[in-house]
Symmetry: C2
Subunit: 242 residues, 2 copies
């Protein structure tokens, strides 16, 4: 099966300017043409297609225009570990910078359009735009911060706290992109959520049911509506929200 051909305008990637990386740049420099040379819009991926595989040579990072991405790595015995979910406007793919080899596989959870940012061109550009480099580091640092929050979550928190935290994280990230923070479709399966949060599918499912029974959320499969945001927040204890 080929990816369904979505109609792509042959213009440059304006949506990507909304991404964490590009928006501040565009605002600071108003120098969109230079950015356009660096950022390439690629063909949309359909569900389960990979952007890159663990072990692939690292050459680019990616910004999500629409859809969503799951990143996971595979251990020796073949078990997968989901390391992150990425939503529209977010950047992924730096897991390869350390030694030019991707540690994760990145796969589309649904039909997804990404922009590719070739890293070498990016480096050239950042030599002439000094704060670009800083922006980039900030984004990496944000990844570190969010990983460390996940570590806290996994080390200390109960199943309910972990799931509440994930729902709030997604809610907040969608809200930041001007998407509805209270009604959304979870792009990932219960199994992915469980894998990510160190829980089994059954536990995830039970917690969703309990949350629904307690009136925190209303949910039908992947469609979720948060009914009691502050109630959910009270369940969670995190290292100072990012």
């Amino acid at each position: 099966m080929q990816a369904p051909k979505l109609s792509i305008k042959p213009t440059n990637c304006h949506d990507c300017r909304m991404s964490t990386l590009c928006l501040p740049l565009a605002m600071e420099y108003g120098d969109l043409d230079r950015l356009d040379k660096v950022i390439q819009r690629t063909k949309p991926l359909h569900k389960n297609q990979s952007v890159f595989y663990a072990g692939d040579a690292f050459s680019s990072v990616y910004a999500i225009r629409s859809g969503s991405i799951k990143a996971y790595c595979v251990s020796d015995d073949g078990t997968e570990q989901v390391t992150g979910f990425y939503l529209p406007g977010e950047i992924f793919g730096w897991d390869g910078i350390a030694d030019d080899t991707h540690k994760n596989t990145a796969v589309a959870l649904e039909t997804t359009a990404v922009c590719e940012i070739p890293f070498n061109k990016f480096e050239e550009l950042s030599a002439s735009i000094p704060t670009l480099q800083r922006h980039f580091m900030q984004l990496m640092a944000r990844e570190i911060t969010s990983d460390q929050q996940l570590i806290t979550l996994l080390g200390k928190n109960s199943a309910e706290e972990r799931i509440a935290s994930l729902l709030l994280s997604i809610s907040g990230r969608l809200g930041r992109r001007k998407l509805s923070p209270t009604r959304f479709r979870l792009p990932m399966s219960r199994a992915d959520i469980g894998n990510y949060l160190g829980l089994t599918v059954e536990t995830v499912s039970r917690v969703f049911s309990r949350f629904q029974a307690s009136g925190y959320i209303k949910c039908d499969k992947k469609e979720v509506e948060i009914l009691n945001l502050s109630g959910l927040s009270n369940l969670v204890q995190t290292c100072a929200e990012a």
Copy 2:
């Protein structure tokens, strides 16, 4: 109590050149004098002294000359989460790059000497040494990789696997610095280990006892000798070793 005044030679920080950041630079550029302008040796810290606190403004990253550092963040309800241990030659402190504020508190686990690398000077320098910037990103990326390994560990692995993994990590890191990888002193308490690995002190203690009974290690309090390295390795399943 004041920190005991250790005798410090007023020379520049040569030990730091052994650090992950400086060694490759020194080798590539042989331009040690420029580095010396950037890197500052600071007074040794004694046990429990902090390098920086969560909430402090971010201005520098730090390389460890000798001793060891524990990084932890504090959640709303006051509980601590250890996010990392840093050994000689390693760099810490970038948790502040995201928004110029440290997320973690860094505290000395024993008498510890660090070198301070002011970040603004570093940025200036990296403008004229293009690959310096890349080195730095690689170090951050390594932090991301190691955080993600910890996530896998916390999400999937048993108490024994977690502790075996920590012992092997420390062993490997010491080995890389030409220190004994099989006989060392754990600088952190059982409580710190438990906190870091999402276990209780009691469980940590029991696992150490079991490892000793099984002949994997010999240990007296913090002194550890690894007797069966490959045996320990077999206990662990990780995402492709870094």
